[in-house]
């Protein structure tokens, strides 16, 4: 119940019920209008949906085989991009934490520059600039490089926040037993930070997965590009992109639920003896 209104009494409950009914009717009416409009424009015909839903049509197996390949390509790009972003991001964060002041500004500059660039620009220019420099790679590599450039700095910030959220005593104890800054980071702080930031990392996976759909600009055959190609023969853009959207929504929704679940579990098990829970590193609405 929201704080904005009292726990409703009988009268208010009746008003809410009436309001709900009106709202429900309006929502249903809007849906009906949309569906009628779609039907009127012949968007529910077997011709449009057949290749996607009817196994007896000759396109059906081909279409779904291609969608499967597209999904594989999408997942491969996302998995590689996440692994590389994690490695590069951690290195960036560690460099930023332990570096001498005279070159720290360089790391900060790189991080800020890459954060200010749209990810579609980093992908496009990975695919244009690297060949211009004489480095020819498969399109998958360009997409992964583009995504890594953008996401590694985000992950670097998550790692930095994760390390900063640890109690100071952890680093002090490491220093007290004679560890260097590097040892203390590698053996004491980072393993704990990774645990704290696990939910944020899973949320970032959603962002990476969504961004793989930009592979179409460099003609990498991920889901969206595959859909684009299929539409050229099946002539059903609305239905095809709808199916692609549903696939993305299912995977990403599952991932964000997983992030919430992991966060709940961690916050339960990480309470200190005096009951103070560590500050969460997951910022709400950070995944855009």
């Amino acid at each position: 119940m929201s704080v904005l209104y009292d726990i409703p009494g009988p009268q208010a409950r009746r008003r809410i019920l009436i309001g709900s009914l009106i709202a429900g009717v309006v929502v249903l009416a809007v849906l009906v209008v949309v569906i009628l409009r779609l039907a009127e424009q012949e968007q529910f015909t077997a011709e449009k949906w057949g290749p996607l839903l009817d196994p007896t049509t000759e396109e059906f197996p081909l279409v779904w085989q291609r969608i499967g390949l597209g999904l594989q390509a999408t997942l491969a790009a996302a998995a590689l991009a996440v692994v590389f972003s994690l490695v590069v991001g951690t290195l960036l964060a560690v460099t930023r934490i332990v570096s001498a002041p005279w070159y720290r500004w360089l790391v900060v500059g790189v991080v800020e520059l890459l954060r200010g660039l749209p990810v579609v620009v980093t992908i496009f220019f990975a695919a244009r600039a690297l060949p211009a420099l004489g480095i020819d790679l498969p399109t998958l590599a360009y997409l992964v490089i583009g995504l890594t450039l953008y996401n590694s700095v985000i992950i670097a910030e998550i790692v930095r926040a994760g390390v900063a959220s640890l109690p100071r005593g952890q680093a002090e104890a490491a220093a007290a037993v004679g560890m260097t800054r590097g040892q203390s980071l590698r053996l004491i702080q980072l393993p704990q930070a990774f645990r704290v930031m696990l939910p944020a990392l899973i949320s970032q996976l959603v962002v990476v997965l969504k961004d793989t759909a930009l592979g179409f600009i460099i003609l990498y055959p991920e889901l969206l590009r595959t859909a684009q190609i299929i539409v050229q023969t099946t002539k059903n853009p609305l239905q095809m992109f709808f199916v692609v959207a549903v696939i993305f929504i299912i995977i990403n929704y599952a991932l964000s639920r997983l992030a919430t679940y992991v966060e709940k579990r961690l916050s339960r098990s990480r309470t200190t003896p005096d009951g103070a829970a560590p500050a969460p590193v997951v910022q709400e609405g950070a995944v855009v």
């Binding site: 704080v3 309001g19 709900s20 429900g24 424009q41 968007q43 200010g116 579609v120 793989t212």
Partner: protein, 216 residues
Amino acid sequence: MNAVTDNLGLYGTGVLTTLQISLLSGIGALVLGTIMAGFRVSPAPPLQWVGSAWVTVLRNTPLSVVLFTIAFGLPEIGVNGSFFWFGVTGLALYTSAFVCEAIRSGINSVAPGQAEAARSVGMTFGQTLTVVVLPQAVRTVVPPLGNVFIAMIKNSAIVGAVGVGGDLYSVGVQLTGAGGLAVIPVLIGVALGYLVLTIPAGLLLGLAERKVAIAR
């Protein structure tokens, strides 16, 4: 660096078009997002369902898929328009989901005691909301909302990639395309163009944050 200096005019119009797309989509997203946030905190369950379905669908779909569905789907059902308006609509719809979540978390972050106190001195629901809760909610919402809009400026590049010409991203593609200008200077130009937009936005955000910040 001739690639950049010779094409300053083109970069200029690119920045302006990107700014135009961002402003229009930003206004749309703010309006839609606020309405959806209202739905999500309202007492009527059907409205809550609409709000959460809206957020779940739009937050989990890639912006490029949203834009493709609009740009290639709407003409199929007889809605014709320019790519520019399709792009602005898509970006506004997509961003509205994030605006909605930012505003909702802002309303939720106001201490329950504030609303309780307001009610206990006899304020109505409208007064509670407008005099006590919203002014405080707005202050906590400034940083996340600002981040959403900065991300939106960057996302406008995807609108360019899907087919709207003349924005900063399209200028970069155009300059590296047929003419075959040196790629790296063009990239630096495009990067500077986006920084010209995002850095002042970030500074303004910081300023607004300091101005309205409240210690909790």
